[in-house]
């Protein structure tokens, strides 16, 4: 038991690397552009604009303010899906560093996931502003989002640890993950609510750890109702399971990273 504990302590020692790399990835992304960091907010805002136009004039969905209905779940969904798809390249993409410098390797997927989730928090600001203007916010409900956010982060980290280390050995994993994540999106209540899912499919949705997380986001930001938190325990449990498994799998596979890259 002392060994996994030591690896956690080591990651903590490298926390400044984590912070600097996340900062680099977020700032660096738009650094060369004229508007710079403003793009972090402009990007979701423009996306929202497109959704609004499409679902108000082109595709009528029958759900009131569908753009908001979609957006409050889409932003958290993008955080986990980008974590996993980008995460498949987290180690492979840094091969020059991995083959030449020592640092705790697990920090690479942690950087990717943290970057995605910090980005999500920034996009959430846009969501909150838009929701406030569109339907008004119930600020007392916002604290419910914190455990949902944490559970999602843990789940994303666990899965990304597995994906990033396995991809070093089986490069196709990054392409497989792209398709799997897309399929997963359609089995999650991102574009529609669980109520509209046929009863036969309900089992699949209830097994999906993202169902409860996305439902909480939607409940708080769109329906303005107190969310049902008891299903979050399942998501959190599964997240912790993936994290422990991913931590171990990564630790086993990282030994030969430098040789496989």
């Amino acid at each position: 038991m002392s060994k996994p504990f030591a690896s956690v302590v080591e990651i903590y020692k490298y926390r400044d690397m984590l912070r600097n790399m996340v900062h680099r990835d977020l700032r660096g992304r738009y650094k060369a552009s004229f508007l710079g960091f403003a793009w972090t907010f402009l990007n979701p805002l423009l996306q929202l604009l497109v959704y609004t136009i499409v679902f108000s004039y082109v595709l009528r969905s029958g759900i009131e303010r569908y753009y908001l209905f979609l957006f409050v779940a889409l932003i958290p969904w993008i955080a986990i899906s980008t974590s996993i798809t980008d995460g498949s390249m987290a180690v492979v993409g840094q091969s020059s560093m991995v083959t030449k410098i020592y640092f705790p390797r697990r920090i690479l997927p942690i950087i990717t996931v943290t970057t995605c989730f910090v980005n999500m928090l920034l996009c959430m600001i846009v969501v909150l502003v838009v929701a406030q203007f569109a339907i008004g916010l119930d600020f007392l409900l916002l604290p419910y989002l914190v455990p949902a956010f944490i559970a999602e982060y843990i789940l994303a980290l666990g899965m990304t640890l597995i994906v990033s280390s396995v991809t070093v050995y089986v490069r196709d994993f990054q392409h497989i993950m792209g398709v799997l994540v897309m399929a997963w999106q359609f089995l999650s209540p991102v574009m529609y609510s669980i109520e509209s899912v046929p009863p036969k499919m309900k089992v699949v949705f209830s097994l999906n750890p993202m169902t409860s997380i996305l439902s909480i986001f939607r409940s708080v930001l769109y329906y303005k109702k107190t969310p049902d938190m008891k299903f979050l325990l399942y998501s959190l449990g599964l997240g912790v399971f993936f994290l422990v498994l991913g931590w171990a799998v990564f630790g086993r596979l990282e030994k030969r990273f430098a040789e496989e890259l």
């Binding site: 020692k13 490298y14 400044d16 912070r19 680099r24 991995v98 020592y102 196709d172 030969r256």
Partner: protein, 278 residues
């Protein structure tokens, strides 16, 4: 060499006689240093690489040719043992493919041995990859923080060294420009400055990097000497024998995955050149 570190003085006397240790499974050439643990302790290290005859690297190939996915073990290090005392500067020489770079990668924990143990005490830094993590659109100053934190430095430690790093890099006002505007020489100089200012306990150097102009190279060598005089343990892998003879207290010659000779640089290098150049 000026006897600043007691250990290195101690070690010099014990390694003075060129110790030939062919069966490397024997005890390391030198006895334990009198005070404290050795900085590096390598015992019976064996490292094999997997040599796939036809490596299936994609999932498709792995599934279709799962029976073919066999590899031959290629032993690069066949049982290497040595200790390095604190403050000692050791040069590792050998032909291409003899296992000297692998030794360095094992010491820096980039690779792990198949058997045997490696113990390194203290913070390790390597002059192997310069400018890791540099973002082209960020300034030299910002990149110092990124690069140094990859070496495991905290923000406080970097703050303390920042001026030193900037001064050493001789970049002047360019430090506030994005590194994409740098010439390749400036880029390497900044990377080198960070790496040598990490102030590690053990510094691993893979070849003396041809960084910058002659003046800057001389500065780099002087800097390495200065680092050494402060009691930092240094392990250098190089083909430049003159440099090793001039700089190191001890030289290890690795031949076909075993230590052929371990001792005074002058003696080891003479034996080495005799062997290959007749």
């Amino acid at each position: 060499m000026d006897g600043i570190d007691k250990n290195s003085e101690e070690r010099k006397t014990t390694t003075g006689k060129p110790a030939v240790e062919k069966p490397a499974t024997e005890k390391p050439a030198a006895g334990k240093p009198v005070s404290g643990k050795p900085a590096i302790s390598v015992k019976n290290v064996v490292k094999e690489f997997r040599l796939y005859s036809d490596k299936a690297s994609t999932f498709k190939e792995k599934v279709i040719f799962f029976w073919r996915n066999k590899y031959k073990g290629l032993a690069v290090l066949k049982g290497v043992s040595f200790d390095v005392a604190k403050g000692e500067a050791v040069g590792i020489i050998g032909k291409n493919g003899s296992g000297k770079s692998t030794t360095l990668k094992l010491l820096s924990r980039i690779m792990y041995p198949n058997s045997g143990t490696i113990e390194v005490n203290g913070r390790v830094s390597g002059l192997i990859e310069l400018g890791a993590g540099f973002h082209p659109d960020m300034t030299g100053r910002e990149n110092i923080y990124i690069n140094a934190s990859i070496f495991g430095l905290t923000k406080k430690e970097i703050d303390k060294r920042l001026q030193q790093i900037i001064d050493f890099s001789e970049l002047g006002d360019f430090i506030n420009s994005p590194v994409r505007t740098y010439s390749s020489g400036m880029y390497m100089r900044l990377g080198f400055s960070v790496a040598v200012n990490v102030e590690p306990d053990v510094l691993l150097v893979d070849e003396i990097l041809a960084v910058g102009d002659t003046a800057f190279q001389a500065k780099c060598i002087n800097r390495l000497k200065e680092i050494k005089s402060r009691g930092t343990t240094i392990v250098i892998v190089a083909h430049a024998l003159g440099m090793i003879e001039q700089f190191c207290d001890r030289c290890i010659w690795i031949k076909d995955g075993l230590i052929e000779r371990d001792g005074e640089p002058r003696d080891v290098i003479r034996a080495y050149t005799d062997c290959y150049m007749g």
